[in-house]
């Protein structure tokens, strides 16, 4: 697996969720790192699955999310950092 940067992951996520974010009045470019996509109603669990699938297709990744804290799975910044770290190979 090649390294994908946190920034690349983050901008892909925001691009994928551009429509629901704007529909709820959020400017994707101005989201704080801790913005919670689930609490804010941007995505539900099915949305998370779709996002993960799209992300893995785009960057040819296969990510194990078991070690990601539940609090962080749906937060933009921590999620992007976790995925990026996973692409760097085993810790």
């Amino acid at each position: 697996m090649s390294k994908v940067s946190t920034e690349e992951i983050r901008s892909f996520v925001l691009q994928e969720l551009d429509e629901p974010l704007r529909a709820l009045g959020h400017e994707p470019g101005e989201l704080p790192d801790e913005f919670d996509l689930h609490e804010s109603g941007v995505i539900d669990s099915f949305g998370i699955l779709e996002l993960i699938t799209a992300l893995e297709d785009r960057f040819s990744l296969e990510i194990d999310y078991e070690n990601l804290d539940p609090e962080e799975l749906t937060k933009v910044g921590p999620f992007a950092r976790y995925v990026s770290q996973q692409t760097a190979g085993p810790a």
Binding site: F46, I48, I52, Y65, P70
Partner: protein, 544 residues
């Protein structure tokens, strides 16, 4: 059709003729110090939860003596008040009507108004919506706010209504037991209706007790069990989550909405022994890498209901939870949670699955299944037909809706008992000992995350919001378990898709709100002159 081979005897009429909360009361007497409920980071013992509920019940009696309807609404979400509230409603001799602040307000108001409740138990998280909710309610309500203590400000906020805060609650000891007719409504739940308005299903104490007794016996539940509580109270899977463990002194482990996003950690940290969810949750866990071998050794039962269970999910779940037995439970709200059950057997089951879907199995003890044609005559063995169910779990019907009740609760020719028409397509097994396979729906109902949704209801909402008659709603993407969401089509090229989507989101709860709205100059028609759903489905396929 044959009864389930693993069922045991059916509960007797004498056993089920009791109030739904009688099992909880008995456990509170036998195990006062044992945990009854874990919620919001705290544990309530049976004695504590019983006292909280009894205090709410005594307060309800003081503030709203008698009067119809005998229903109390509980506007609370994953809090001690939510659980004590519904037990309190039952102890007061009322049926409970659960409301959810995550639903669009208009929907909650419709539920409250249709139920006609004049008492409402509210927790702090739901209080934020209360003013707006009561905006369209013109009768005086009794508002019990047990988590609040500043009465003066709240009285001013809700003029015309009676406000009761914590200091004014009656002590638990002041509750005199209320006599309950087991044939009365124990809870009222709303299901999606094809004509645009939801249906309010009245389930009696007797109905619910039959279900609870069947499961308690089937799963040999004891006071040492720890049950998951994944279903919202507005969804009848929650009846299993609460009343099966409470009957035996076991603990209901209620996660926060946030915790539910990582169910694997919840199972481990709560040391659950019984898991119950919609199959979608298991599918979600598999995708997140949470079904690794031997991840959940504490589970002794894993139960799935609400939508089709994919065989591969059952197989993988068993690898992740090697000490458990997996069962697939089937049933509409109208027949009290579940009425057919299938036990997964790794040796035999793969051969019994069709199209990769686990069978729905055999009627539970006391219930009977009939596979019938359109004239309600039983079909020949090996033939497909609609599944009809009869027995003590057939509910009381729809509140103030004799027409839709008569259409769904029928007496087939040659029978005496009322049967509920499920609208589900099954096959009468050629071999009488074989399990019933689930083949899909006969109408436009779909299942998303276990929720049964009438596409007709979604279409009615789209028509009203768009002012356009030619609309179609489709379940999309199609999954083995049901559908992932809803896509809407509107024949009006000038419609503002984004705005329409937003308005539908404000109006329809959770999974019912379309995830995408497509505006077209016109909708394709098939040879019968009906909207061509297959062509629209193809359009979605091509777009992805």
């Amino acid at each position: 059709m044959g009864a389930t081979p693993t069922g045991g005897p059916a509960p007797t009429e004498a056993q089920i003729a009791r109030p739904l909360h009688a099992g909880f009361e008995r456990s509170a007497a036998s195990f006062p110090g044992r945990p009854a409920l874990e919620v919001g980071g705290r544990t309530l013992s049976y004695a504590e939860l019983r006292d909280y509920a009894a205090s709410l019940a005594a307060t309800l009696i003081r503030e709203a003596p008698g009067g119809e309807p005998a229903l109390t609404a509980v506007f609370a979400y994953r809090s001690a008040t939510a659980f004590a509230g519904l037990l309190g409603a039952l102890m007061r001799g009322h049926g409970y009507v659960p409301l959810n602040h995550n639903f669009p307000l208009e929907r909650t108001r419709l539920m409250l108004e249709h139920a006609g409740c004049n008492a409402l138990i509210v927790d702090t998280a739901s209080l934020l919506q209360l003013e707006e909710l009561l905006d369209g309610v013109d009768r005086p309500m009794v508002l019990i706010l047990p988590e609040e203590s500043e009465a003066a400000a709240l009285v001013a906020r809700f003029p015309g209504h009676t406000v009761v805060t914590a200091p004014e609650l009656e002590p638990a000891a002041s509750l005199d037991p209320v006599e309950v007719d087991p044939g009365d409504t124990a809870y009222l739940l709303f299901t999606s209706g094809s004509t645009g308005t939801p249906k309010a299903v009245m389930v009696s104490h007797r109905n619910a007790n039959h279900y609870v007794d069947v499961l308690v016996q089937r799963y040999s539940v004891t006071e040492h069990d720890r049950f998951s509580q994944t279903a919202e109270m507005t969804f009848d899977n929650s009846v299993l989550d609460m009343f099966v463990p409470w009957q035996c002194g076991a603990c209901v482990c209620c996660p926060s909405r946030k915790t539910l996003i990582k169910p694997g950690r919840y199972i481990r940290e709560s040391e659950l022994t019984v898991w119950f969810s919609v199959p979608s949750t298991a599918i979600f866990m598999r995708r997140l890498g949470a079904l690794k071998p031997a991840s959940y050794p504490s589970l002794r039962w894993s139960l799935f209901a609400g939508e089709a269970l994919p065989a591969e999910v059952a197989e993988e779940w068993l690898v992740a939870a090697p000490n458990c037995t997996v069962e697939n439970l089937y049933g509409p709200t109208e027949v009290t949670v579940d009425c057919l059950i299938y036990r997964w057997d790794p040796a035999r089951s793969p051969d019994e699955c069709e199209h990769g879907v686990v069978p729905i199995g055999y009627p539970v003890p006391g219930m009977t299944a009939l596979v019938a044609d359109e004239a309600l005559h039983e079909v020949e063995p090996g033939t497909e037909g609609e599944l009809l169910v009869s027995g003590p779990q057939v509910s009381l019907g729809y509140l103030r809706d004799p027409e839709r009740t008569a259409a769904a609760f029928v007496v087939p020719p040659g029978h005496d008992a009322i049967h509920y028409r499920t609208g589900d397509l099954v096959r009468r097994p050629a071999d009488p000992d074989a399990p019933v396979p689930y083949l899909g729906r006969l109408d436009h109902q779909i299942q998303i995350f276990g929720e049964r949704i009438e596409l007709g209801e979604v279409e009615a909402a789209i028509r009203e919001e768009s002012g356009v008659d030619a609309v179609v709603a489709l379940g999309w993407p199609v999954t083995t378990a049901g559908a992932g969401g809803i896509e809407a089509f509107v024949a009006d090229p000038d419609a503002d898709a984004g705005d329409l989507k937003r308005r539908l989101r404000e109006r329809l709860p959770g999974q019912m709100a379309p995830r995408g709205v497509h505006v077209l100059p016109e909708l394709p028609l098939n040879d019968n002159g009906k909207f061509d759903r297959k062509a629209l489905m193809k359009m979605l396929e091509e777009a992805t």
